[in-house]
C-alpha cells in the first residue's frame, strides 16, 4: 500500500517525574497512521492512551523518541509553528467539550478561523455552514450553557473542522454523552472522515467506536498491544456479541 503516513510515532517514551518516583507512562511506542483512516486507540484507563494522544497532538513533548506529523518532527517546531500546526493541521475534540463558555456557538466555531487569519465575513459564513453540517442551524447564537451535552459536542466537532484540518484528534469524545448522542457524534465523525478524507484518531474505551473504525490500536501498560484492521475486528465484536 502506498498511502501516505500522516502521523508517525517512533520509539516514544514518556516519564512523569512525581518527585519521589518516576512513572514510565509510555514505554516505547511505534505507530504509523495512514491518511484518511479512522483510528481508535483503545486501552484501559491508566494505559497511557491519553498521554500518547497528547503527544500526537503536540500538546506534550515526549521524553524520548519522535512524533512526526506530515513527516515533520514536531519537537523541532518553534512556538509559532506549533501554534500554526494546532490551528491549521489538527482539530481537537475533548471529552469535556471545552467550548469557550463566554462565546456563542458560532463564535466558538469561528475562533480557530480568526487565528488562521480568515476574514470575519468568510469565517461567519463558513461557521454557519459547519453548524448546519452538524445539525445545529438556528442554534448559532446560543452559549454553551444553553446547549445540551450532545449539542455542545457537535459544536466542538464543527470547531475542529473549522480550518479543514488533516487530522482530528478526539479524546474520548463520547465519554460524557449518553448512548444515543454518543452514537450520533461517532456517526458524524465517521461521515466527516469519509467525505473530507480527514484522519480521525480517537482515544476511547467506548466499544461503539469499534464498528466505525478502520483500525484499532490497543494500548496496554504503555506499549502497543496489537493493531487490528477492520476485517479482524468484525470477528472480535461478533465474539463479544456472542459472549453477551
Amino acid at each position: 500500500m502506498c498511502a501516505k503516513n500522516i502521523v508517525r510515532v517512533s520509539g516514544v517514551t514518556k516519564d512523569f517525574d512525581l518527585g519521589k518516583i518516576v512513572v514510565n507512562v509510555l514505554k516505547g511506542i511505534d505507530l504509523e497512521i495512514e491518511t484518511g483512516m479512522y483510528i481508535s486507540i483503545m486501552g484501559p484507563s491508566g494505559s497511557g492512551k491519553s498521554t500518547l494522544f497528547n503527544m500526537i497532538g503536540g500538546l506534550d513533548k515526549p521524553t524520548s523518541g519522535k512524533v512526526f506529523i506530515d513527516e515533520v518532527d514536531i519537537a523541532q517546531l518553534d512556538a509559532y509553528e506549533l501554534a500554526w500546526l494546532r490551528c491549521r493541521k489538527i482539530g481537537y475534540i475533548f471529552q469535556t467539550f471545552n467550548l469557550i463558555p463566554v462565546m456563542t456557538a458560532l463564535e466558538n466555531v469561528t475562533l480557530p478561523m480568526t487565528f488562521a487569519g480568515t476574514p470575519n465575513d468568510a469565517a461567519v459564513d463558513r461557521g454557519m455552514e459547519l453548524l448546519k453540517l452538524v445539525g445545529l442551524d438556528g442554534r448559532h447564537s446560543h452559549k454553551p450553557s444553553e446547549l445540551s451535552g450532545g449539542q455542545q459536542q457537535r459544536v466542538a466537532v464543527a470547531r475542529a473542522l473549522a480550518n479543514n484540518p488533516s487530522i482530528i484528534l478526539a479524546d474520548e469524545p463520547t465519554g460524557n454523552l449518553d448512548l444515543k448522542t454518543g452514537e450520533d457524534v461517532i456517526e458524524l465523525l465517521k461521515q466527516m472522515s469519509k467525505e473530507r478524507d480527514v484522519t480521525v484518531i480517537s482515544a476511547t474505551h467506548d466499544y461503539k467506536m469499534l464498528n466505525v473504525s478502520d483500525q484499532v490500536v490497543w494500548i496496554r501498560d504503555g506499549r502497543v498491544d496489537k493493531i487490528q484492521n477492520r476485517e479482524e475486528l468484525d470477528i472480535t465484536t461478533g465474539g463479544l456479541a456472542k459472549a453477551e
Binding site: 500538546l59 501554534a83 490551528c87 471545552n98 463566554v102 475562533l111 480568526t114 470547531r159
Partner: protein
C-alpha cells in the same frame, strides 16, 4: 506560505469586552478597590488644589483659615504640597489596591485555566492570551480610575465649598483640578495594568496539557 497565526486587534478587543460583560459582577468587585484607592488619591490632591486656589486669591484671613484646617502654610507661600502623612496614606492605599488587583486577577486566571488551554489548542500564541488579559485590565482600570477620580474630585470640591463658602467656587483654578483628575486616571489605569502583568504571564506560559488536566 507563511506559517503564522494571527489575532486582529479588534477581535482581541471584542473578546476582552465580552469576557468583562459576562463576568460583570466579578469585574465590578475587582474594579471597586481601584475606584476607592483612586478616589482617595484624587480627593487629597484636589483638596490641595482647592486650598492652593484659596491661598493665591486671599490674604491673611485665608491663611489663618487654612492653618486652622491643618494646612502647613505661612504668609508669602504660593503653593501647597501634600504633607508627608498624606503621601504615606496615598502610597499605602495604592499598595493595598494593587495587591487586591493581583489577587483578583490571579483568581480570574485560575478560573479560566481551561478556557486558556482550549484557546492554545486552537492555535493561540502566548501573546494573544497576554493581550486579552491586558486589554481587560485596561478597560477595568480606565473605567474604575475614571469613576474614582471623578468621585474624588467631586467630593473634594463639595467639601471645599462647605469649608470656604460658595464665594470660593469662582476662585478655583480648573486647569489644576483637571490635571489632577487626569493624573489620577493615569495612575489608576497604570496600577490595573501592573496588577495583571504577573497573572497574565502565568496564564500565557501554561502548557495546554496542564490546563486540560485541571478538573472543573
Amino acid at each position: 506560505m507563511k506559517r503564522l497565526v494571527a489575532l486582529p486587534f479588534s477581535k482581541s478587543l471584542e473578546i476582552a469586552y465580552k469576557s468583562i460583560r459576562v463576568r460583570f459582577f466579578r469585574s465590578l468587585i475587582t474594579t471597586l478597590s481601584l475606584v476607592l484607592a483612586v478616589s482617595f488619591l484624587c480627593y487629597t490632591q484636589t483638596s490641595n488644589n482647592y486650598a492652593e486656589s484659596m491661598l493665591l486669591s486671599g490674604g491673611q484671613q485665608v491663611i489663618e483659615q487654612l492653618q486652622a484646617i491643618g494646612y502647613d502654610v505661612n504668609v508669602g507661600d504660593t503653593s501647597l504640597t501634600a504633607s508627608p502623612k498624606q503621601r504615606w496614606l496615598i502610597f499605602l492605599s495604592l499598595l493595598v489596591c494593587i495587591v487586591g488587583i493581583i489577587n483578583a486577577q490571579l483568581m480570574s486566571v485560575t478560573e479560566r485555566f481551561r478556557e486558556i488551554g482550549t484557546m492554545k489548542c486552537l492555535g493561540a500564541l502566548d501573546r494573544f492570551i497576554v493581550r486579552i488579559f491586558i486589554l481587560e485590565a485596561g478597560f477595568q482600570g480606565l473605567a474604575g480610575a475614571a469613576s474614582g477620580a471623578i468621585l474624588g474630585a467631586f467630593v473634594a470640591i463639595m467639601s471645599g465649598l462647605f469649608r470656604f463658602g460658595l464665594r470660593s467656587f469662582s476662585l478655583l483654578i480648573w486647569t489644576d483640578i483637571f490635571t489632577t483628575v487626569l493624573f489620577a486616571v493615569l495612575i489608576g489605569t497604570g496600577l490595573s495594568l501592573l496588577g495583571v502583568l504577573y497573572p497574565a504571564l502565568l496564564a500565557a506560559r501554561m502548557q495546554p496539557v496542564e490546563a486540560m488536566r485541571v478538573d472543573q
